[in-house]
Amino acid sequence: MSIKHAEEYRDKKLSRSLIQEIQKNSRKPVRLMEVCGTHTVSIFKYGIRSILPKTISLLSGPGCPVCVTAQGEIDAFIELSRKKDVIITTFGDLMRVPGSNSSLQQERAKGQDIRMVYSAFDALEIAKINPDKEVVFLGVGFETTAPTIAASVLSAQVMNLTNFSVISAHKKVVPALTALLQTKEVNINGFLLPGHVSVIIGAGAYRGFIKNYPIPCVIAGFEPVDILTSIHMLIKQIETGKKDLENAYPRAVTEEGNSKAKSLLNTVFQSGNAIWRGIGPIPDSGLFFQKAYEAFDATRRFQISYQQTPEPKGCACGEVLTGIKTPLDCTLYKKICTPLHPVGPCMVSSEGICAAYDKYHVENNRGSCNDD
């Protein structure tokens, strides 16, 4: 079997035809939002913003997991890392996110045991070989990540690993879409829905949302042809007055999603209210431990309570994540806030929109300065 199709989804000729179609069909000025950090990266990497007609503005929504993590949660992670005999395990993106007065990276430099892992299973290994230490995994991410963490909790139970626990700061995408549309200042004409979250939750998970808040939505993959096809579908819906859900990524996304992953997720976690950076509290948008697994809940084990800490002064991450502002509207952007000295998480994460603006030298809100 070949991987030929993956290359074909990068085909330049096909992409060009799609761009022509988009140009031909797009009349009204529209604002389309993606809600997935991997989309942000793909859109910039392939220069998609700069090749679209001027009528189309692309916005990056609350889809970068680290960026939507509340300041109070970041502070709690840092606090926990200072406890004696605790090993913190995390995905790399969290390391440099500034808390109110430190970051995990700074704590590590001071000697705290904080380790980057590639999978939650790696954290189990660390727990196994360090029986006299408490190993805590910082669970940040959406429905794509949560089942992997759930699988590690179930394994820890089977392995009888009593020194392993997880902070579940996982979040759900659909409640965030709802919250965005309920926010007055937010102005969005269509959503590019996250491909890999949709692999897990399935297209069916959006049906209730679209029924209650009709808006053009297309589930999108990550290759240039995928993204352009999705934008084309959105434009066609908008120009013809449709407000439907379409799946432009059927090779990966089914109506039901991944039932094994969903069952892992629902076995270990349940929905509850969570605070999102920039948006605030959203009902049923967080994933927290089910009663049967609360022995693995690090917030219980270490009696962590989140404080409502204010976000860094002057940082516009919140408005950027809701599409109200762009990084260029932030007075700190590139002056005080740089990838080397980030003020907010949107400049830290490789999936953050401020980091992408900086990396691709965006000088206007349409594309990169290399626009021709």
Partner: protein, 79 residues
């Protein structure tokens, strides 16, 4: 966090497997996919294969897209 490119399964040992993506090999859990086979292309996220790419649908989607675009081009000429 996500790897946007599909990875090929080159080894299976129980619930674990090794995948190859552009020459880089990684161990992944196969817990979340049905009947993994050597040579399958999977989407990998945080050390887990989360989906087996449906090759037939992948080809069909491209075919439909090409037909749609070709159709549009033809339409243009006739106008």
């Amino acid at each position: 966090m996500c790897l946007a490119i599909p990875s090929k399964i080159i080894r299976i040992v129980g619930d674990m497997g090794t995948v190859d993506v552009d020459g880089v090999k990684r161990d992944v859990s196969l817990l979340m996919i049905e009947e993994p086979q050597l040579g399958d292309y999977v989407i990998v996220h945080a050390g887990f294969a989360i989906h087996k790419i449906d090759e037939i649908t992948a080809k069909e989607t491209l075919q439909l897209l090409k037909e749609a675009l070709a159709f549009v081009e033809k339409d243009d000429i006739s106008n």
